[in-house]
Amino acid sequence: MLKIKELHASVEGKEILKGLDLEVNAGEVHAIMGPNGSGKSTLGNVIAGREGYEVTRGEVAYQGKNLLELEPEERACEGVFLAFQYPVEIPGVNNTYFLRAALNAQRKHRGEEPLDSVGFLRLVRERLEVLHIGDELLHRAVNEGFSGGEKKRNEIFQMAVLEPKLAILDETDSGLDIDALKAVAEGVNQLRSPERAIILVTHYQRLLEYIKPDRVHVLSEGRIVASGGPELALKLEEQGYTWLEDGGIAELEQAAV
């Protein structure tokens, strides 16, 4: 589904990603872990197409297409979804209205009829129920005045309604208390499916106790330095990220073999 080769990307002239390789197949959940500044969020933003993230080298193929050529909205319409680390507050735009506009834009792209408000509301209620979210989020402006937990839940809720093929969750666990974390994890688990690929970008191993990844990658200084199964995350948690710089990478690579 997603093939990233030798990806180099800069922000404000500073190179953050320095030759990143990653391959994710449909049905898989991958976790990308790494210390602050390793390039985790940059990866998500490059895939989603945020302005200011300049790809200087390498390629990103998504379902056989060159993803980097597409506008952000085209990527979304093709099934790419980024759950933001910091969801944006948009006063004056109703959450339901926004989500329906988004869904209908994507449906239009796929050549489907737009959902009317009745059909849309039915879908929304279904998803809310599955995710155990109350409907109070619907009546408010997009993320405006939401608590940290509500914002993250709103991201998962959007994901559940939009049903992307490739979802990237950018530190969706950060700033959440244990209840909110469980709720978010449950939401993600509900969305696991053989047609969908999910990338969890996270700093901590904690989230992975609730969402079992198929693969774990360690990102350091803009490159994936090690890949392995869930046990790799535990090892990392045990040793801490400083250990990476102290020659741990070689050890990890050995362990992963």
Partner: protein
């Protein structure tokens, strides 16, 4: 071909303002206004600094000027209480007035000359060059409406439609009197059913008796190259409320002066406007809350979206007289520049001469929030649609003040449609 014609004194005062057969008090009023006219305001007149009409040429299309056939646009709201004023003159009246609501052509009311109406007309301050248009308006006094709501009556909505398009400037006067505890929602539609430019000079005088409440909603969507000068003066009795909500989507030049004067204690006003500037439009709002009495509350909310080569001006004045303790005034103005060639000038003006007062104001001018835009796009919404959503959201706080649901919806829709008509889109 369009012909350039500047506004000049000759346009207005070529003929004698005295009309034989009219009551002498009326002719005296006209003559005295005419005598005070010294010419149109230019850049040196502070209140007209950003809208120097004297220096501005206002184009009139010569070709079809004489063949203007007024086409009345679709009414903004569905109501049987509707008045159509073509070129400022009453052409269609409601078949039957609701109980307690009296609407009549000003010409008829002037002949009857009820004392409250005469007092109201004579009370309008028209000194100095800043009131040049009011001087002209008074000199030409005759067209317009007299609206009266009896004590304790809720008269519902009254729609005024203003199709306009004559070669010469039209002058109209609206006098509104709400007796004790009366209530009215005055909805005004400044719009032509055709692309013919309008030229209208309007003065509105509103008198609110104790506890009366007036909602005043105004849509201005005249064609390009139109000229609208509107002055609204509200005199507040004790515990009265006035809520103005304006939305401007068109015109060559539109100027709105809205002033609330608190003569009685415990009164309040809420003055709100949203402007979408397109093409070469120039829209200027002057709000003023004049706190003469104690414990009054005023709010001013202004949202400007300037696209193409438009220019939007906001002047928010608050005056608190000595002794007007317990005054509370809030003001917020924000502007959004959609194009490099557009301009927004916002100026708060606070003159506080009492001690026990709360006065707050804030002003910002910026561009669309790029973070919000990316968020929308990352969900599949196109840049174009996202821009519309964010612009509408930006103006929402103003439109949300409209107390009538259908009108509220229709204004929101008009704004979205007007966004499509921007020439250049986002530059």
């Amino acid at each position: 071909m369009n012909r350039q014609s500047s506004l000049s004194t000759q346009d207005f005062l070529a003929h004698s303002v005295v009309r034989s057969g009219d009551p002498s008090w009326l002719n005296t009023l006209r003559q005295s206004a005419s005598d005070r006219f010294l010419g149109l305001p230019g850049r040196k007149t502070e209140q007209w600094k950003y809208t120097a009409v004297a220096a501005q040429s206002v184009r009139a299309t010569a070709d079809d000027a004489d063949t203007f056939e007024p086409r009345v646009p679709q009414p903004l709201i569905d109501t049987d209480a509707k008045v159509v004023l073509i070129n400022g003159d009453v052409s269609e009246m409601p078949g039957e007035n609701r109980d307690g609501l009296c609407v009549k052509p000003l010409a008829a009311a002037l002949q009857e000359a009820d004392q409250p109406l005469v007092d109201l007309l004579e009370s309008l301050p028209i000194d100095g060059r800043q009131h040049a248009f009011s001087q002209l308006n008074t000199a030409a006094l005759g067209q317009g409406l007299y609206i009266h709501v009896a004590a304790g009556i809720d008269a519902g909505e009254l729609l005024l439609q203003w199709p306009c398009g004559a070669e010469e400037m039209n002058h109209a006067r609206i006098c509104v009197v709400l007796e004790t505890g009366a209530r009215l929602h005055l909805v005004e539609q400044f719009e032509n059913g055709s692309q013919h430019p309008a030229k209208l000079n309007l003065v509105e005088q509103i008198e609110l008796g104790e506890g009366a409440e007036l909602f005043h909603s105004r849509l201005q969507h005249y064609p390009a190259e139109s000229l609208l000068i509107g002055r609204t003066e509200v005199r507040h009795g004790t515990s009265t409320r006035y809520s103005f909500t304006g939305m401007d989507l068109g015109a060559g030049l539109a100027r709105h002066d809205v002033r609330s004067e608190f003569a009685g204690e415990g009164a309040g006003c809420s003055l709100n406007a949203a402007v979408l500037g397109s093409g070469d439009a120039h829209v200027d709002y002057h709000f003023e809350a004049d706190h003469q009495a104690m414990n009054c509350q005023s709010g001013q909310l202004f949202r400007a979206v300037a696209g193409d080569r438009s220019k939007i001006v906001f002047n928010g004045r608050v005056h608190v007289a000595p002794g007007a303790d317990g005054s509370d005034s809030q003001q917020s103005s924000a502007g959004l520049l959609l194009s490099r060639k557009a301009e927004i000038d916002a100026k708060p003006e606070l003159e506080i001469l009492a001690d026990e007062v709360v006065a707050a104001h804030g002003a910002t001018v910026g561009q669309l929030d790029q973070a919000a835009m990316f968020y929308l796009r990352s969900r599949g919404i196109s840049e174009e649609q996202g821009r519309k959503m964010l612009t509408l959201a930006f103006c929402r706080s103003v439109i949300d003040r409209v107390p009538h649901e259908a009108l509220h919806e229709s204004l929101a829709m008009r704004l979205t449609t007007a966004m499509d008509e921007l020439e250049s889109g986002h530059e």
